[in-house]
Symmetry: C2
Subunit: 327 residues, 2 copies
């Protein structure tokens, strides 16, 4: 742990440049000044030790990466272009200088990869390692931001990214710890190092058909599809059509080995950081053509409720309140 | 503690309206969307139990108030007009529904008073009650934001607000607890319920002289004058001229009763949330005329270092790192 705020700021400056396009004033004053040039998206995401992560199997760099990834995913979910982020950090005494350096290093690496500069923040000591990340974004070249609750019955539901993989990784890491969690490297990586789908969000907003923009609504799936879908549908329901062939091989193998249905486990998921979009039935093919990693996973239905492959899904997904232990 | 996120959001909605001018999209999507219409100020401030406050003498409403006040003071320190704030809240299991309701109530009351709507945030359970507040602001009617490090030798240093009072309150509350801290009500209130000086910041930016704006630089004094002044002066120093008559009566009485020099204690201060401004010597009278609560507390000197009434001040002020215990 650094001995003074000045020392901490030196570590910060070593990892994060203090200038960026769209940043009128960087760190070091009462506030940073951004120049969004129009509407500004803001979101915050808090990442708490032993609730969202464990130091037993998260490396310091993983912690830094994931705290930023989870927050940045909310920008992806609006099809926003990253402008900057602020980090409020609560550091316990046992987080030494090397720990801090590695944690900020992991965060800085992702920050560069997605062009999301650190513009400010706050620091406190405290008993529990806590990272709160506020992200700021602006519309991309299209000028459009994509919201939830725009879906209409008959719309196609589209997914970009994997579901269930991070959940498998969490279960594996909780059971075996990091050293022995070797059987499912993709699942473990999905849990420790999720990718915020910034580029895909911007790409989805940019797809045009002769009738106009192809995608009408977007959100990021962070609490599991079963829990996030009702938030997306705004009173309507959905008929989901998902088979094992739509899932990553590790999801099928992991949940089969644990006597769970992989498709059910995947829609419960959690921390997937996938993107969920809707498009009217005529526009969906344009999306699949322009962003081939997109999959159609179902259709919006007029009645509320979620049906999976003709059956009923009732169990709630992921709730940081309802569930003990991290994940 | 609420049983579900939905229940928590209901409590939030009861306390905070979800619409405001300049808010294009309120809570409930991946991000909120602000419409700053130009540059946007952002700052975050984290408020951690047993580091920044103790539940032993902070009421739940005090906690909500002060977490927001400390963050909003950074907007005041740029002369920014409030646009909105986001709250990331980590709630321990022993923070019950009534506690949460009162805490949000105290926050909502200040939010209304300074016209700073809640636009989003995040919630987690966790072992340590932690509130991280991100604030967003825009230039006021003048279009000017006031930064640090603009002072020139010879400039007058101006203060709006009291110094030392919150520090006396902290010492009293730490020693006596809330029930018995009756001797210094002003000091106790300054510690528990500081006022972010939003209106004064905007007023300072608006004062004009025939040569142009009177005030050239501004910051909020949150870590004590001795600590914050060097950050304001950008390499220059200051000759401070402060007498007991410039201090609140309770500051004089409290520190005299504790065998400390009140003026020294006041410049060390901490959590004052006063505003520190600079103006060239010819413009200073215009500031005093238009904002009579302003006091001249000294002058910028060409050499670094702070001199108090002709002597040397060397001791650092307030550092959340260097100092055990809350405050």
């Amino acid at each position: 742990m650094p001995n003074s705020e000045r020392e901490f700021l030196r570590v910060i400056d070593r990892h994060f440049p203090n200038h960026a396009p769209g940043l009128l004033l960087g760190r070091g004053d009462d506030c940073a000044i951004l120049d969004p040039g129009g509407p500004l998206c803001v979101s915050t995401d808090v990442f708490v030790e032993d609730v969202h992560f464990r130091r037993a199997y998260f490396s310091p760099a993983d912690i830094g990466h994931k705290a930023l990834a989870a927050a940045a995913s909310d920008l992806a979910g609006m099809a926003a272009r990253p402008l900057g982020f602020a980090l409020s950090l609560v550091l316990p005494d046992d987080a030494g200088d090397m720990f801090l350096d590695e944690m900020l290093g992991g965060m800085a690496e992702l920050s560069r990869a997605i062009d999301l500069p650190l513009v400010g923040g706050d620091l406190s000591r405290g008993r529990v390692l806590t990272l709160d990340v506020a992200v700021f974004g602006a519309p991309g070249p299209t000028g459009r931001l994509l919201k939830r609750c725009t879906a209409k019955p008959g719309d196609a539901l589209l997914l970009v990214g994997d579901i269930g993989l991070a959940r498998a990784g969490l279960l594996e890491l909780e059971h075996w710890g990091r050293r022995d969690a070797k059987r499912w490297p993709g699942a473990v990586a999905a849990h420790l190092r999720p990718t915020p789908r910034i580029a895909e969000g911007l790409a989805l907003a940019a797809i045009e058909t002769p009738e106009g923009p192809a995608v009408s609504g977007l959100m990021d799936v962070s609490d599991g599809l079963v829990r996030d879908l009702p938030r997306f549908l705004g009173g309507f329901g959905a008929e989901l059509t998902l088979a094992r062939k739509d899932l990553p091989q590790e999801v099928n193998a992991f949940f089969t080995a644990h006597s769970q249905d992989p498709v059910e486990a995947a829609v419960l998921g959690g921390e997937d950081y996938a993107l969920l979009a809707c498009a009217d039935a005529r526009s969906a093919p344009a999306v699949l053509a322009e962003l081939p990693q997109t999959r159609v996973i179902g259709r919006v239905s007029p009645e509320p409720g979620l049906r999976l492959n003709g059956g009923q899904v009732l169990r709630p997904g992921f709730d940081h309140f309802a569930k003990p232990g991290p994940g």
